[in-house]
């Protein structure tokens, strides 16, 4: 009964979305207030209805209602409660419903918090959001209905893929979706602005927090996924350039570009066309990501739905929205005249460089991701594009970005002297060179990853610190630091975070040590100055799996550090084994142990790794996300969008 109610709510939501995407638009062009005002209750109603549908599906999962097909395929009565809930989005139909729920939530947010937008603009934004909602609701209802029943009702379910039964992965999809779908707000604002024919500072001030929030969610989502791969897949890889990872990474890069260029729109009323274009493409990449994941066209295992109908449907959605928005753009772009002028050396130019590097690097990822498809379709070549290509073709852009960031971050707006900025950054630069030299001499004959990565890390972090010191000016009054706008603290945190992540990636790539061997119970071996002893291997039972668990004693110079318990689990229902690595976490290095198979002539295959600076990768990601959050709490986003303008009329925008 509740399931049918959910199905019904979903269809109603589709109806509401259709009205929401048409009536306010008509109202806005005829200047009819009643029709425009319809947008707000419609957005709220759509959200409530989708929430009801999502609630109904969750109810089916939580109560293990095996008359619902989706529950049978993805759940099991013995599964722990948290994975019963995360099972709702651990499959195609449910994750699509979550996508739509978040989309409706963002639309409703524009209705709830958009009082300081003009009525016409707000109506248009909500209408565009409604169009996106309507197309995905149609997609869900017509090709991926989550509420299908089965008869006869089976006794139990087929269980969720055990690799997905993990706390890191339970929350990975919701964060990713909040990010993907958050970019729809930037898109709706861009399209509404194009319809209206105006982009101003208030527009920039509105788009930026939404983009920032979306980017923060994407950062968290990607970092969670990468961390999960690191500890779960059993050899400590953290990034594989898999098409599906790329699908989330491309919008992340674009969102990073967008949130920087939106600053220019907001503060300087410049780069308007450029920003609108970025907003359109950023969401385009989100739909493209959905297409890649859902259609299975690039046949990755992520593609749990290998159904061509679905792929074609999403491709149509992508074509209509991108085609429509870009056509609108080509008609209206010339009207969006930029006002703030800037000279060749200025913060604006630096941010243009940031945009160029991020957009082109994203383009490289895009070409690399679809190239196997293009080569097969047009050149009849079956080939692979893997990690070696991306490492080679993508990394230079990030190095360039890291090099110019600390200078670009302090060049004055409008008109600056490069000489002065370079001069004020000489201390961090010398420090970074010293770090590079030190690393260079400490390691002999190894890859360049180490020195370059440590240089970039030191340069970015000390550059961010230097920027704060520069903000102090001559006064050396440290209390002033506390009074800096939160946006400045956000910038400091996020930019340092980038440095931390870059150093971490370089560290793990340059200095990882590995050992693979057969070990008997009682044996001791050594790696990177650590001693390992296999003390015991035993069989145990978990709630819904069997496990082979080892006790490995970790010591250094005879002092015991930890007892590590790597596991090999077997999930009988899904008939699938998983590895649970044991990791001894430490800021400077992780010790990572995996237990393999029993060997024919006794003993166990054991793999041991020392992974230097691994945690820096995720610490840096966390700092980036935190920096975004701090920026979001900046005063100018909390007060009404126009209010602060009072202080800046006719003057130079305050920073």
């Amino acid at each position: 009964m509740i399931t049918e109610f959910g199905h019904f709510a979903l269809i109603l939501a589709f109806m509401v979305a259709l009205l929401q995407s048409s009536l306010p638009l008509i109202g806005a062009s005829l200047n009819r207030h009643g029709l425009m005002a319809f947008a707000m209750p419609a957005a709220t109603a759509q959200f409530v209805l989708v929430l009801a549908a999502f609630g109904a599906l969750t109810h089916a999962f939580v109560t293990s209602d095996f008359s619902v097909q989706l529950v049978v395929l993805n759940s099991h009565s013995l599964k722990p409660m948290i994975y019963k809930i995360s099972g709702v989005w651990g499959n195609h139909e449910g994750s699509l419903l979550l996508w739509i729920l978040i989309l409706a939530l963002f639309g409703a947010c524009a209705a709830w918090f958009g009082q300081n937008l003009t009525l016409t603009f707000r109506a248009r934004v909500i209408a565009v959001q409604g169009m996106i909602g309507a197309s995905f609701l149609a997609f869900c209802i017509f090709t991926s209905n989550p509420f299908l029943r089965v008869a006869p009702v089976p006794l139990d379910g087929q269980d969720l893929n055990p690799l997905l039964q993990d706390p890191g992965l339970a929350f990975h999809p919701p964060f990713l979706y909040l990010g993907y779908v958050g970019l729809s707000m930037a898109f709706s604002f861009a399209v509404a602005a194009l319809i209206e024919g105006r982009v101003d500072a208030a527009w920039g001030r509105w788009v930026r927090p939404w983009t920032l929030a979306a980017w923060v969610f994407l950062t968290i989502g990607i970092a969670l996924g990468s961390w999960w791969a690191y500890y779960e897949l059993g050899w400590g890889g953290f990034w594989f350039w898999d098409p599906v990872e790329n699908a989330s990474f491309m919008p992340w890069l674009f969102a990073a570009a967008l949130l920087h260029s939106a600053i220019v729109v907001e503060k300087r009323e410049s780069l308007k066309n450029w920003t609108i274009l970025l907003a359109i493409f950023a969401f385009g990449y989100s739909i493209m990501g959905t297409f890649i994941v859902r259609s299975g066209v690039l046949t990755s295992v992520h593609a749990f739905a290998n159904d061509p109908d679905r792929g074609v449907f999403i491709l149509i959605i992508l074509g209509v929205f991108m085609g429509g928005a870009l056509t609108l753009f080509s008609v209206r772009a010339s009207e969006l005249e930029s006002k703030g002028v800037f000279s060749f050396v200025s913060r604006e130019s630096a941010l243009v460089m940031n945009n160029i590097l991020l957009a082109v690097s994203s383009f490289v990822v895009f070409v690399g991701t679809i190239w196997p498809l293009v080569a097969e379709l047009f050149f009849d070549r079956k080939l692979s594009v893997g990690a070696p290509f991306f490492n080679l073709a993508f990394t230079p852009f990030m190095i360039a970005l890291g090099l110019i960031l600390p200078i670009g971050a302090i060049v004055p707006w409008k008109r600056g002297g490069l000489g002065r900025a370079v001069k004020s950054m000489r201390v961090p630069f010398i420090f970074a060179i010293a770090v590079m030299g030190l690393v260079w001499t400490l390691q002999t004959g190894q890859s360049l990853h180490g020195p370059i990565g440590m240089f970039l890390g030191a340069w970015l972090i000390s550059g961010a610190v230097m920027e704060l010191i520069l903000r102090l000016g001559q006064s050396r009054d440290f209390a002033r630091l506390l009074r800096l706008p939160r946006a400045d603290w956000g910038k400091f945190t996020a930019h340092s975070g980038l440095g931390v992540t870059m150093a971490g990636i370089a560290g793990i790539m340059a200095w990882q040590a590995e050992d693979i061997r057969v070990v008997n119970v009682g044996d001791t071996w050594e790696l990177g100055g650590y001693e390992f002893t296999l003390e015991d291997v035993r069989q145990e039972r978990g709630p819904n799996y069997f496990t082979t668990m080892a006790d490995i004693r970790l010591a250094k110079n005879g002092t015991e550090l930890a007892l590590m318990n790597p596991e090999k689990r077997n999930y009988p229902v899904a008939q699938m084994p998983t590895t649970e690595a044991a990791i001894d976490y430490n800021m400077m290095r992780d010790v990572y142990v995996v237990i393999g198979d029993p060997q024919a002539d006794g003993g166990w295959a054991v793999r041991t790794y020392i992974k230097p600076m691994a945690n820096w990768i995720w610490l840096g990601s966390a700092l980036m996300a935190l920096g975004g959050l701090i920026s979001l709490t900046d005063r100018r986003f909390r007060v009404a969008a126009g209010a602060r303008k009072q202080t800046t009329i006719g003057g130079v925008p305050a920073e």
């Binding site: 893929n161 898999d242 080569a375 070549r381 893997g386 073709a393 303008k645």
Partner: protein, 151 residues
């Protein structure tokens, strides 16, 4: 990321792990070369995964093949050529530079040049036009007043 799922569920109940102790060559220099080569070769039944990382039985066969060729005295390039001849360029994780693949390889540099052209043009136009003022248009001033007076 989850590519192992497929392989595991398709092929084996009991997984073999990537590089096994018994595969490792006695000569550490040769072994190092074998590992480097393995990282650039695709496990043919996997999704975008190198034979060095893969658990699949087929990946193990390829790893052993690479080591066999190295022991026979092949250079790195000869080993790669041997694998490509047998399995096609699909086995290379880093596509060859040449033919239609040129498009793939120069996409980044060309894209950068293109974007720089647009960007520099924008900067030039903006700096060549210093007459434009920062002040609000009357239209915008009206709107600003309207917003400010609302509170």
């Amino acid at each position: 990321m989850k590519r192992i799922i497929l392989i595991l569920s398709l092929i084996i109940a009991m997984p073999v792990h990537a590089v096994q102790p018994d595969e490792i060559l006695d000569d550490p220099v040769l072994e190092e070369r074998a590992r480097e080569l393995s990282k650039g070769l695709r496990c043919l039944v996997c999704q975008n995964e190198s034979i060095d990382d893969s658990d699949a039985a087929l990946a193990r066969d390829l790893r052993l093949l690479v080591r066999e060729r190295l022991l026979a005295g092949d250079s790195d390039q000869e080993v790669l050529d041997f694998v490509v001849e047998r399995y096609g360029e699909f086995a290379l994780l880093q596509p060859k530079f040449g033919g239609s693949n040129l498009v793939l390889w120069i996409a980044g540099p060309l894209g950068l040049l293109f974007a720089l052209f647009i960007g520099l043009n924008m900067m030039r136009r903006s700096s060549a036009n210093p007459a434009t003022k920062d002040e609000l248009s009357t239209d915008e001033a009206d709107r600003l007043n309207e917003i400010l007076n609302r509170d």
